[in-house]
Symmetry: C2
Subunit: 468 residues, 2 copies
């Protein structure tokens, strides 16, 4: 007799940890640090706060077994409200980033996957300490995740009055991990993070007692990303039903104009007429069972109607071509750099901006293929390269056309900023090949490669002149 049963999402990601990026003790160190650092940056630069982030990796005290480390990340961000703190850290698929905004986080899984990995390999609860700017109190919770029920199990909590005006969050997780093998990737991750966030101050303290400081290079921050209304092309049946349920709009036309972006009065009326639905229809009517077919057809047409404006991109927050060039120079001391921010495009109703940077020569060691630095919403991606759309594009370029002969001292940086990054995995390793994104990356790579060609052809002429 077959044994049928359900599983909570906590059990699912506990049983299949590799789906969340926790494939082995080396990767677990990396993934724990990156999930905490990404949360820290989301809590700061997304809210216009100059980030100060401290990462400490130390041998776990009072925990048996070698290879046990306590990883602590502290930030000066917006903090976590005490009413949601337990769920934010103790319930899988719980998040403040399920909205339409460019953030690093998107799944509501990251820190919980680390908590689960820690509680299963080291038996320790996560410790969270947090204070919000407008509050007089600091709150603390130590908790495990109840894997079966997918809910937090608080084992200790407290609160105390602030002495200063601190705001921010400190998260401490103890895991089994192979620090020795993970070390170089962790340092590379933080280095690459700092390169595109020169307004951030980041410290890394290692178990050996080394302190890596990535100082703030500028107080100038890019404008933070903002939340947007959905675009008609990006809405699915369930989302549209939720909008109809919660809307205060009294007509269907008003729903389209007020609940969506890029829909004006005229296009709303034209669209509804074309769809054969009255613009004055009461939105709640569409939720009735007998209107299901009408609703499905309407959502279908919404997603494919060509008469709406493209999604707005002014709520995105790219790195900026200047910052990319500065970052490349700082990292590689090259002879040549160039960078471009492509015009915004969209896929599935979500706007995206591709940025490409290139660096050549100088201190860059020659390699058999370009060194590719991939970024998505300012997160450096260090795994899964060969299935990433950026790798597909960059390795498909005929570099000979640009006077590049391998081995060559060539670095290419690709950044995608969007309200929705099409990751192939819940562990955020690589980006799937969405055709619109692929063609923008290709256009951006060609654009900077052409500038490189100009530089290289001039160098070639100068070399010929010197030979005569």
């Amino acid at each position: 007799q077959e044994k049928y049963r359900a599983m909570s999402p906590a059990e699912f990601f506990s049983r299949y940890k590799e789906l969340a990026g926790f494939s082995n003790p080396t990767r677990a160190v990396y993934q724990t640090i990156r999930e905490l650092v990404e949360n820290a940056l989301d809590a700061t630069d997304t809210h216009g706060i100059l980030p100060v982030i401290r990462v400490v990796v130390e041998p776990a005290r009072g925990v048996e077994g070698e290879n046990r480390y306590t990883i602590t990340v502290e930030d000066n961000g917006i903090g976590v409200p005490p009413t949601v703190m337990a769920d934010a850290f103790g319930r899988v698929l719980y998040s403040s980033k399920y909205v339409i905004r460019q953030t690093r986080g998107m799944f509501g899984l990251g820190v919980k996957a680390a908590v689960i990995y820690g509680q299963q390999t080291a038996g320790q609860p996560v410790t969270v300490i947090s204070a919000m700017e407008d509050s007089d109190y600091v709150y603390m919770k130590k908790l495990f995740i109840d894997i079966n029920e997918n809910k937090p199990r608080i084992v200790e909590e407290g609160q105390w009055r602030k002495r200063g005006r601190w705001h921010g969050t400190r998260v401490s997780i103890t895991i089994e991990g192979d620090w020795r093998r993970a070390r170089s990737r962790v340092i590379e991750y933080i280095k690459r993070t700092a390169i595109v966030a020169p307004y951030a101050e980041i410290h890394l303290v290692t178990p050996e007692g080394d302190v890596y400081i990535f100082p703030r290079m500028t107080r100038k921050m890019p404008k933070p990303p903002r939340e947007a209304k959905p675009h008609p092309h990006g809405v699915n049946l369930e989302q549209f039903k939720m909008i109809l349920q919660s809307t205060r709009a009294r007509t269907l036309k008003e729903v389209l104009v007020t609940e969506f972006q890029s829909v004006g009065e005229k296009s709303a009326v034209n669209f509804l007429r074309e769809a054969g639905v009255s613009p004055d229809l009461n939105p709640k009517t569409l939720l009735r069972r007998e209107y299901r077919d009408v609703l499905v057809r309407l959502v279908d047409k919404l997603r494919s109607y060509k008469g709406f404006r493209a999604p707005r991109s002014d709520y995105l927050s790219p790195i900026g071509a200047d910052l990319i060039e500065i970052g490349l120079r700082r990292m590689f001391r090259p002879e040549f750099t160039a960078a471009v921010t492509r015009p915004a495009r969209s896929y599935m109703g979500h706007p995206f901006i591709v940025e490409v940077g290139i660096a050549y020569g100088g201190s860059i060691p020659p390699r058999e293929e370009p060194l590719l630095l991939r970024y998505a919403n300012k997160i450096p991606l260090l795994y899964g390269e060969r299935e990433d759309v950026a790798y597909k594009v960059v390795s498909g370029v005929n570099w000979k056309n640009y006077y590049v002969e391998f081995p060559a001292p060539l670095v290419v940086l690709v950044h995608i900023a969007s309200t929705r990054i099409p990751y192939k995995e819940a562990g955020k390793e690589s980006i799937g090949d969405v055709p619109e994104i692929e063609s923008e990356i290709r256009a951006g790579v060609w654009e900077v490669a052409r500038k490189l060609r100009i530089f290289l052809s001039r160098k070639r002429r100068e070399a010929e002149i010197r030979r005569k």
Copy 2:
């Protein structure tokens, strides 16, 4: 103010469909068919039934919009009990395969991801018709998935007395899909499935009215895989707690011997003594809060203790070296074939068997690199090749050592059979590089490559003799 909220697993995979393999309308056709076919094979050959499977893809009737197809897969398998039918097809993370047994399915997500994709793109419920062998009735349900609540919403159901003795299941899902682009991959998938399951009869009917028949080649079936007890190395804290809760064993020693495989009386006692825990301890005692540290240390030691036997592999069901060679010959008409079934090994307490086949020459068209056919638990994997451990191994082989010069007419088949396949994605595209598995694949590839070299060196000598 940040908006904090939870999401059900249905909403999670509905919002991030690419995580389940539904990245675009082309891939959606492929993924729907493969999920249904894999369920059909799990319902037959896993239970010793000679599979008869019929796949029909037809233009959707009464559904607006182009590119709408109804995909129906019918099998003669064990059927679905009426009491679980709604959850099996309408609740994400619900499965009969959450046990320790070699099956194609493992996540409890596959068919539900297809149902969600269908209901969102075509607005149609899934139709399931099923009958069990020992029952007089056939049951039918049409349902949607309530995305917010992650539960089935039945819109029609019925039952009727069987007229014959039919048993099996028919599942019908209507989706938006790009059949034209998906067609060749779907045919390739079914072809490759049939190659390693020559005891199965599979029919594919396409929207164009073509009928592909993959007839049964043999009635001889490999012994079906069987369910196993967990191995100590594969158990985590939560699983051990569940075992302690449900066990009827009265001592800790009895728990180890009866609830696990590969643990005898002697090794149980030795292990517990080494762990400093009494073999006579009442298992329920370990569940008390004050024993948490003891429990954590015990599970830790369980996972690393060297004194237990390796996991048993007799409950696995490999393809078999003969069948692999026959399949390769049928598919490619090569000049040479060889195949090997490696000895069983284990990772994380789960046994696995690697099988490698090689084919050369004859009708194989020369290519710049080997054509790699990847299989996991008899499922052909057609996506994500470049991040797959098998690709890493095969592309890393120095084929010159084996007298192979590219372009060359070379095919390599790699199959991994296990109670737990370490997929990198919930959409089952590629296999992560677990060191134990990687080294077995490498050993297997070298083994068949050496046989190829003997063949090629003999051909070389014969060619030289002819020239003189």
